[in-house]
């Protein structure tokens, strides 16, 4: 479907309507108004040199992006100390990849694993999506990257992120995820909140109706007990099941899944479009206003944008 151009102005206007339609109160109004203390921070790191196509990733640039993002988010200069801001020694960490249809750039997952390892949590599993098994070359690239980073490929576990998933059976205390964004035929634009819906203990199709308006329920009901570190792999944005459509060359960091998703959507809409008439903001805002799963109010999100 030819995607409608959802301008940022229209996005914010419609977001206000969805917010006020569901529960009066919170909106994504960007207009000057009542100043609010930011409740959460999101960092966007962009590097023009990081990649130009699927075959060429500048590893040095990617590492710089990862280190800059985590240090900016933590407000610390030391990379290890920055990772340790979010990862405790007692943590059991699940590193969750983006799954299929826009697979991660493998090195993003490897760099995230490397960063987690620096913080020395009690345990870490790279809970890759079971559907990745259809992409053996991708899995092999991740394994090789882990080996080069002196991480054991045995941390890879494809038995948790099945569909439906088994995260609820595991003792994870922290979810680190590297979702991708793409134009999506039922969510408009898929991202962080929708990704949690695919990680639910019930089949994700339960969340499909009405632009996936209930997707936030999974995050709220099944993942409220864990902490979150979101590293959106925005090196490129995808188009449905057909691969990359735009090379954004960014990573987006946050600890509030909803807030990170809202900002990632804004970045997406700078150069890409929602699918058809589907409002991509709807499920994100409802994740906040209906399910209290995070912050969608843009006034309460501090965004820092840096270039490396």
């Amino acid at each position: 479907m030819a995607s409608s151009k959802l301008s940022r102005r229209e996005f914010l206007r419609r977001a206000a309507q969805v917010g006020s339609g569901a529960v009066l109160g919170r909106t994504l109004l960007d207009a000057p108004g009542e100043a609010q203390e930011p409740a959460t921070k999101v960092v966007i790191v962009t590097c023009d040199e990081v990649m130009s196509d699927e075959r060429s990733v500048n590893m040095d640039a990617l590492r710089r992006m990862m280190e800059r993002g985590i240090t900016e988010l933590a407000g610390k200069r030391d990379v290890k100390a920055a990772w340790q801001t979010f990862i405790r020694p007692s943590d059991q960490v699940a590193l969750v990849d983006s799954g299929t249809w826009l697979l991660n750039v493998p090195q993003v997952v490897v760099e995230a694993a490397r960063g987690i390892h620096l913080a020395s949590p009690q345990g870490m599993k790279l809970t890759y999506c079971a559907l990745d098994e259809r992409h053996p070359q991708w899995l092999q690239a991740v394994r090789e990257g882990l080996r080069r980073a002196t991480l054991p490929p045995e941390i890879m576990d494809g038995t948790v992120y099945t569909i439906p998933a088994r995260f609820h059976t595991q003792p994870f205390t922290l979810i680190v995820m590297t979702p991708t964004l793409k134009s999506h035929t039922i969510a408009g634009v898929s991202g962080v909140v929708k990704h949690y819906a695919t990680m639910s203990k019930v089949h994700v199709q339960n969340y499909h109706p009405n632009a996936m308006e209930t997707a936030g329920a999974a995050l709220a009901n099944e993942f409220r007990h864990v902490r979150h570190l979101i590293i959106v792999d925005a090196l490129r944005f995808g188009y449905t099941t057909k691969g990359p459509q735009f090379y954004q060359k960014s990573l987006i960091f946050g600890t509030d899944p909803v807030a990170t998703d809202v900002v990632a959507l804004e970045v997406f809409l700078r150069n890409c479009r929602t699918y058809g008439d589907i409002p991509p903001d709807r499920h994100r805002i409802l994740a906040d206003t209906r399910y209290k799963a995070g912050i969608s109010d843009r006034r309460r999100i501090e965004v820092k944008e840096v270039k490396v």
């Binding site: 479907m1 999506h184 039922i186 969510a187 898929s190 499909h208 109706p209 057909k242 058809g276 008439d277």
Partner: protein
Amino acid sequence: MALLMLGGWAWAQEPASLRQVQGEMERILAAGGKVPGWRLKEGPRFFVGDKIFDYMDGAGEIPKACGFRMLGVAEFVQAQGLGVTVELYDMGTDANAFGLYSMRREPSHTFVASFTHPASQSQGQIIFWKGRYTVILFTEETKRLKKEEFLQLALALEQSIPSPGAYPDLLRYLPQQGYVPHSAKFFHGKFALDTVWFQKENLLQVGPQTDVVFAQYRSPTLRLLLVRYPDPQTAVRVFAAGQKRFGLGKSAAPSPPFVAAVGKQPDKLGPFLGMVAWRNFLGLLWGAASASEVETALKRLAQSLQKPVPAWRRELD
């Protein structure tokens, strides 16, 4: 009771019709491996019902909303490793096959005339329909794969489908004046409707028993939804509910036996909206800049409902 499993097709007990369907799809897909320079690398794998989500996640709701029966997926590859994925959908009927094709193609695509019905070509993708089948070929090797070799594979698959198939009957009722070629979309369910006109409720009460067509128009710029219900009572009921929901005022154009209403719909692009009901049809027009524009369009729609064209023209799609 039939038990179907993904991937290896481990059947406990299978309906003969599904076995036939699969056999026919295997025959069609095998034609791809006979094209010089191409060989079958993987598959085919088959998916029915909700198992389609295992292949294509939420995007599977669109083929479902168009009435798909079975999906077969195969990977073809050239000697130098350039690959193409082929999705072959048995849509059950010609109309549904056109439907899924229509949901995936856009007026902005390039159209290839050498197929039985025009095939849509866009970045890395060829889509066509024939008989009860919709076929989608896609590749990520857009820079390296030669266009003519990609087309050759698509044509071989198309030629292995015996019957041409007919366009959905509902298309005949679309006004022709101002119609944007290749813009018509045919479907049944709300997931497909949402992609062209999103409402959080199923206001138009679409579902497996309804036929829906969406079309774009220019001069003036408008969007049209035409729904055919199983009975006139549903059309009247939906009209009344829509009139109330959008606060539309009664319109005298078109005149009885049509019932029509016009008003503003400020949360969509183009503020004016019109609705018309007649027999078991409901029409919805939006995107108009003025009430008179939408009333003119409603009158045209009424005329084409009463006097549909004998057949949909290939060059329009």
